[in-house]
């Protein structure tokens, strides 16, 4: 599972890529999102956290990458850096995707929506308070190794749920509460562990 793992200790081989017109150096193991961050270039993201593996779910961090003659839209949190690629983080296409994603998640990811200038949604079946970004699930699994929360169902029926009979008390841990993009985990934990 070390595909896009992060450089640890030893001197890593470096590559040079262009992000928004700037030459950026990054270790071969880095993702475009990490490379941008290290160069102080901001790419918005919802489901990303440095402590856990990239998930590629929210698509807010989409950027345009040109490699040779081919330009494509990719999720920068998952896309590995490569020598010579040209990345644009703020094109019209990219902005359109981010705004529409925020609109689709409305009102679950309110801070991000407001940051992107989205103040309402044209969609009449609102998402609710959970964006299914999975930060809590993945944090609980990968960092806390507790697996108290999980995804239930698939497709549009996918929902978050507490694993029945789990031994940890989420109200005592609370570590993922701050990660939550919509406030679901805090509200539900207090109900589930009463």
């Amino acid at each position: 599972m070390s595909d896009h793992g992060f450089a640890k200790g030893e001197a890593m081989k470096q590559v040079t890529l262009t992000i928004d017109g700037r030459q950026v150096e990054a270790p071969t193991t880095a993702t475009v999102l990490q490379a941008a961050k290290s160069a102080g270039i901001y790419i918005p993201a919802l489901c990303h956290d440095e402590r856990i593996k990239p998930f590629g779910a929210c698509r807010v961090c989409m950027v345009e990458v040109t490699k040779g003659k081919r330009t494509r839209l990719v999720a920068s949190c998952c896309y590995p850096v490569e020598e010579g690629i040209v990345v644009k983080t703020d094109t019209e296409k990219v902005k359109k995707i981010r705004k529409l994603v925020a609109e689709l998640l409305w009102p679950a990811a309110l801070p991000l929506a407001l940051e992107l200038g989205v103040t309402s949604s044209r969609f009449s079946a609102p998402r609710g308070e959970c964006s299914l970004c999975g930060l809590c699930v993945r944090y609980c699994d990968e960092v806390k190794k507790q697996n108290a929360v999980y995804f239930e169902g698939r497709g549009i029926d996918r929902e978050l749920a507490f694993v029945p009979g789990v031994k940890v008390d989420c109200r005592a841990c609370r570590e993922c509460f701050d990660l939550c993009t919509g406030g679901w985990i805090m509200n539900e934990a207090s109900k589930a562990f009463e």
Binding site: M1, D3, H4, P54, F55, G56, A57, C58, R59, M62, L73, V74, A75, C77, C78, Y79, P80, K93, K96, I97, L100, V101, L104, L105, R122, F123, S124, A125, R127, S131, L132, G134, F151, G153, R154, G155, I156, D157, R158
Partner: protein, 629 residues
């Protein structure tokens, strides 16, 4: 079974099976594919066994339970060999007569033969229009072998391609043949198999895998099932050749749990191949080791996506990986893994045996060989058809399919499974070709082909596919999960007469998001049904939204049923069929429908005799207010 230790042993076995140990020439072949089993082929075959015994023919006439013939709609299919007399819709009660007349007296049973448009009875399989225009390279063997007997496969030349590859060709040479043949993936993408094989072959790593994708889940499609059920060894032989070429030590067949017969026949095939030494250590004494495991899918459509399939085999939830590295480099257990569809693998032995030039002689510039389609919907003849690439959609629909049922007007053909697009009448002369279909807003997909007529509403059809995809995606990424959820909501509103101005544009925006931002191919292609429907049938969307009218009179909320008082003869059929007792009247006088009680199930419309046709579907006076979730 004795183990075969060399190419010579295999050749000797084949020699024996075709001479001294040859099975009788005379044979009753009963289709025992899932389609025919559903129409009691098993009972039928048992009846033949009894009859052959009773009429003293058991020794000289073989009863062979074969794989799928493709003409499932008219099953059970029974073919008498070597005369090639084909009987359709055979019942157990017909067995005595067939054995008596055809086998004992060499007379055909006329009433069980195919009757063409002019009323002529056709005797032979290939005289039947459904078969006449096909090129059955892969499906043909289904009719000649018992899938549970490896000897049948070997007697028909089976495993000769493997022997040729192992002893007469280097892996590079096999690769060159597959590349030159330009065999493209039959599972959907149409990616060149040779290129994929080469990437896996060249990828660093000692342990490599080859995999068969038999997670066929498209609504109405069953090409792969029939191949696995009917001729599992052809896929296995292709897989072993692929493993030898790529340098893989282990293979996996990912097959749906919902295909019990395919699972059974595959497991039997693996056991028999192992006993003959065609799998396992030192295959045919060549020094090449390879074995195969069957993995049964747990029932998620999305597991057919390559990285999801591999994740599922690893024992985790089958959802696509968020990676930009090909599975041919890092796939199953992070090792180089080559995944091909059932049909792609089945083509491999044919190409190795007959050469790439032979394969290239069929098809178009960039699509070679044949393709199996599951032809269903409003055509006269439905079933599995194998056609050469380059044949027009019109030929498939009209020559093989026999045209539209009940003299209705053709409206669209939907190809490529749930994420394929609709192609209208004006595109019927399009050749079956990976690129041509793609460039026209549809795709080859794995081979689903659903024909729609004037009675199909295109908004409702698009809604059906979006509903399928919305529930069958993994649900990880926002564009696919939320995009499809809102698309479905909008489409549900439109068919319920609650569409609004701007809905079409919103749908288009969502399609754009799906295509550009989804995490895997399920999402990026999920926009096809809506995009194609909007491109070719925009007027139907507009009629639903602006006029609250369903031109095809399908959408229940926009129509109502009425009884023509002039035409109604007063038979009580409609009143009897009505589940809500909304139809009132007295026999021999015209009946009438109480609209407030009607749930628009259409039962009255169906039972009203064709001669009378008094029950009419008319536009609803006022759209019903129904709640749409």
């Amino acid at each position: 079974m004795t183990k075969l230790n060399s190419a010579k042993d295999l050749a000797a076995l084949r020699e024996r099976l075709t001479t001294t140990h040859k099975r009788p020439d005379r044979c009753v072949a009963v289709c025992s594919g899932t389609g025919c089993l559903a129409t009691k082929a098993q009972v039928c075959a048992d009846a033949f066994a009894t009859e052959l015994q009773r009429q003293g023919l058991a020794g000289e006439v073989e009863l062979r339970r074969t794989g799928c013939y493709g003409f499932c709609e008219r099953g059970p299919v029974v073919v008498i060999q070597p005369e090639d007399v084909t009987y359709l819709g055979v019942k157990a009660s017909d067995a005595a007569e067939i054995v008596e007349s055809t086998l004992n007296q060499h007379q055909v049973v006329e009433r069980l033969l195919f009757k063409d448009d002019h009323g002529t009875r056709l005797q032979h399989l290939n005289d039947i229009p459904f078969y006449k225009y096909q090129t059955r390279l892969l499906l043909d063997a289904n009719t000649r072998i018992d899938p549970k007997r490896i000897d049948d496969y070997v007697a028909n030349g089976g495993y000769s391609a493997l022997s040729k590859a192992l002893f007469e060709m280097k892996p590079e040479e096999v690769l060159a043949v597959i590349k030159h043949a330009n065999l493209r993936g039959r599972g959907g993408g149409g990616f060149p198999a040779g290129t994929k094989w080469e990437t896996t072959r060249k990828a660093p790593g000692d342990i490599k895998y080859v995999l068969v994708n038999a997670d066929e889940g498209d609504p109405g499609a069953y090409m792969d099932r029939s191949l696995l059920e009917g001729n599992p060894h052809s896929i296995l032989e292709g897989l072993i050749i692929g493993a030898y070429t790529i340098g893989a030590c282990e293979g996996f067949i990912y097959v749906r749990q919902e295909y019990p017969l395919a699972v059974t026949n595959t497991l039997i095939a693996l056991d028999q191949a192992r006993e003959y030494g065609l799998l396992g250590r030192n295959i045919l004494g060549s020094g090449f080791d390879f074995d195969v495991t069957v993995h049964r899918g747990a029932g998620a459509f999305v597991s057919g996506e390559s990285s999801a399939l591999m994740t599922a085999i690893e024992g985790r939830v089958g959802q696509p990986r968020p990676k930009y590295i090909h599975t041919s480099v890092k796939g199953l257990f992070d090792r180089p893994s080559n995944l091909n569809n059932v049909e792609t693998w089945a083509n491999v032995p044919l190409i190795v045996n007959r050469g790439s030039d032979w394969f290239r002689s069929m098809g178009t510039e960039n699509s070679k060989g044949t393709k199996i389609f599951s032809l269903v919907g409003k055509v006269v003849n439905t079933g599995l058809v194998e056609v050469p690439m380059g044949i027009t959609l019109r030929d498939i629909v009209y020559k093989i399919g026999g045209g539209i049922r009940g003299n209705k007007k053709f409206k669209a053909v939907q190809t490529g499974g749930p994420s394929g697009g609709f192609l209208p009448e004006s595109l019927l002369d399009l050749p079956v070709d990976f690129d041509d279909l793609w460039n026209n807003g549809s795709m080859m997909g794995s081979g689903g082909m659903i024909v729609l007529d004037e009675d199909n509403c295109m908004v409702d059809s698009a809604r059906f596919y979006i509903d399928f995809l919305a529930h069958e995606g993994c649900g990880v990424c926002v564009p696919c999960r939320e995009g499809l959820r809102q698309s479905l909501h909008i489409l549900n509103n439109i068919v319920a007469g609650k569409g609004r101005e701007g809905d079409i544009e919103l749908l288009e925006e969502l399609c754009d998001l799906l295509t550009n931002a989804s995490r895997c191919a399920l999402g990026t292609s999920a926009s096809f049904p809506v995009m194609a429907a909007l491109k070719h049938y925009r007027d139907e969307f507009e009629a639903h939204i602006r006029d609250k009218r369903c031109p095809a009179r399908v959408c229940a909320d926009l129509i109502q049923y009425e009884i023509d008082q002039q035409k109604c003869v007063g038979c009580p059929l409609c009143a009897k069929s009505c589940p809500t007792k909304a139809i009132h009247g007295t026999p021999k006088k015209p009946y009438s429908i109480e609209q407030s009680l009607c749930i628009k199930c259409g039962a009255c419309h169906q039972v009203c005799p064709a001669k009378v046709q008094a029950v009419l579907k008319v536009p609803a006076l006022a759209p019903r207010a129904t709640t749409v979730s």
